[in-house]
């Protein structure tokens, strides 16, 4: 059984049919790509998966449970985490605090024990601090822990957003154009990182990306979206050779 199963997903914004009859199946520990020209509806699919938008039709089943129409913060508790196309870090908080935010919804201490700081709460806080530092070390960002997130260079901000999403303990990680604005070397590192994350954390990753090299390199399966319509789905080489895809997407770039 697949981890994520999306059936006939549809959303309308007034007269605009942004996503129509979209289907997607993602298995456990799969690296999956979602591509398509600008305005195709890729980010809109993410927003429906994470509860930001409520679909006007269709269903989303995750881990055997219907999750469409659920509030975003409850989706996170079901172990789906995401990054944003236009980075959304907590800019005035430190790098460390940003990562700890990922753990926060899982914290057991209540409001009152936080105010009086019970020994249990202090221990929990220390554990989170430790875990966050470990995660930052993996991302080679431990020296930046006390830096304000908004002061990081662009590439580092993208990486921090991924680290924060991982802290939220996902089974499915949604990455919206993680390579946007990165230089070729950073993109190469990112490619490695994405693979490594999948193997290390044993999670599935759904990736939106315009960088074809990255997508073809890293994804085991790809779905193509164009003007809100599902165009094709399959292995990278199938997608690469699909005439409809070439016409709608790759062809346009070739011209």
């Amino acid at each position: 059984m697949s981890l994520l199963s999306v059936k006939n997903l549809t959303i309308r914004f007034g007269g605009l049919l942004a996503v129509n009859d979209f289907n997607l199946e993602i298995g456990e520990q799969e690296l999956y790509g979602l591509i398509g020209p600008n305005g195709a509806g890729k980010t809109t699919v993410f927003n429906m998966l994470t509860g930001v938008y409520t679909p006007t039709g269709g269903s989303i089943t995750f881990d055997g449970e219907r999750i469409d129409g659920i509030k975003p913060y409850n989706i996170t508790a079901k172990h789906i985490a995401r990054t944003f196309q236009n980075i959304r870090l907590f800019g005035n908080l430190t790098v460390l605090q940003n990562v700890m935010m990922g753990y926060d919804y899982q914290a057991k201490s209540g409001l009152f024990s936080s105010i009086i700081r019970t020994p249990k709460q202090i221990k929990e806080e220390e554990k989170m601090h430790e875990d966050a530092m470990k995660l930052l070390t993996i991302f080679h960002m431990e020296d930046l822990a006390e830096e304000k997130a908004k002061n990081l260079p662009y590439g580092q901000q993208r990486r921090l957003e991924i680290a924060r999403a991982l802290a939220a303990n996902p089974k499915l990680l949604l990455l919206d154009e993680p390579a946007a604005g990165m230089n070729p070397q950073e993109t190469a590192e990112l490619t490695e990182l994405i693979r490594w994350i999948r193997d290390e954390f044993k999670i599935s990753i759904l990736l939106i990306e315009h960088d074809m090299k990255l997508v073809m390199n890293v994804c085991e399966k790809i779905t193509v979206l164009s003007f809100g319509q599902l165009l094709a789905a399959g292995k990278p080489e199938e997608i690469r050779n699909n005439p409809r895809v070439i016409e709608a997407y790759l062809g346009k770039r070739g011209a």
Binding site: F84, M101, E125
Partner: protein, 334 residues
Amino acid sequence: MKETYKKYIKVVIGLIVAYAVFQILFQTGMINSYYNRIIRQIGIFLISALGLNLILGFTGQFTLGHAAFMSIGAYTSAILTRNFGVPFLLALIAAAFTAAVLAIIIGYPILRLTGDYLAICTLGFGEIVKVFIQNVDYLGGARGISGIENKSGFTVIFVLAALCFAIIMNLIHHSSKGRAILSVKEDEIAAQAMGINTTKYKIIAFAIGCGMAGLAGGLFAHFSQFIDPKSFDFSKSFELMTYVVLGGMGSLSGTVIGTSILIALPEWLRGLSDVVKEYRMLIYAIMLVSMMLFRPQGIMGTKEITVAGLKNFFGKIKRIFRSSSTSVNKGKEA
């Protein structure tokens, strides 16, 4: 964990010393009763301003009715002690509790929305509270309530102010709940993506902040011994906001500084020559405006005063002093 408790003990010792110093200054008459009164007034409004900073500075919710919650606390405690003979401390707790519950009731429908609805609604709420009290005879109507017992001494104000400071400090800087509150101000969509029920935390912060306003109101009633609906109108809410903004939104030590300056300054100017006295409010306004022009983030920004920070600060001053003196020497040699 040990370090945390060590720090606590240090803080408590520091507070006891500060308290003792104040008491000695009072007892020996080095601070006369006039200044004693101003210090107590600062303490009371500090409690309210700390609560406002939690809502405005840390959670980023724009409220314009903070004084209305002080009014609710003031009337609650005054009626309880005066008409029902309830002990003062119990009446204070009731004041804080009533204000917090009312905050939840009006916050629940409003805080689910994003945008500045809270500002408009709290503004309206303030007016409603005022008009309501003016028209209810039992609450003294427009005449207000007088003859409230003088109970708000330095000790109770000092302890409660320290407590409110500690509550926000612990919550904001050392807990996941506090980070959740901060994340709401930073980016609500990202906070929700991190599993944070942003509405819930907005309501929590609003309730705690308004509860502190209620507490301050209760203290104020037993400090001025007279309250009327006008003591807590919009201009008071606005004044509280200037305390927070001047000190720095998101800095607790900033709120202490801001409140102290803005309450003490007009009093101090009053004591100066006649010319100054006449233009007192003008000078006050000019100082505020120039502050906003040259340091819009407030005196402290979002930073806190810490022992390490103070050492660093004095170290810098020393270095500047030294380097200037050495450069003078170099000049002589050349």
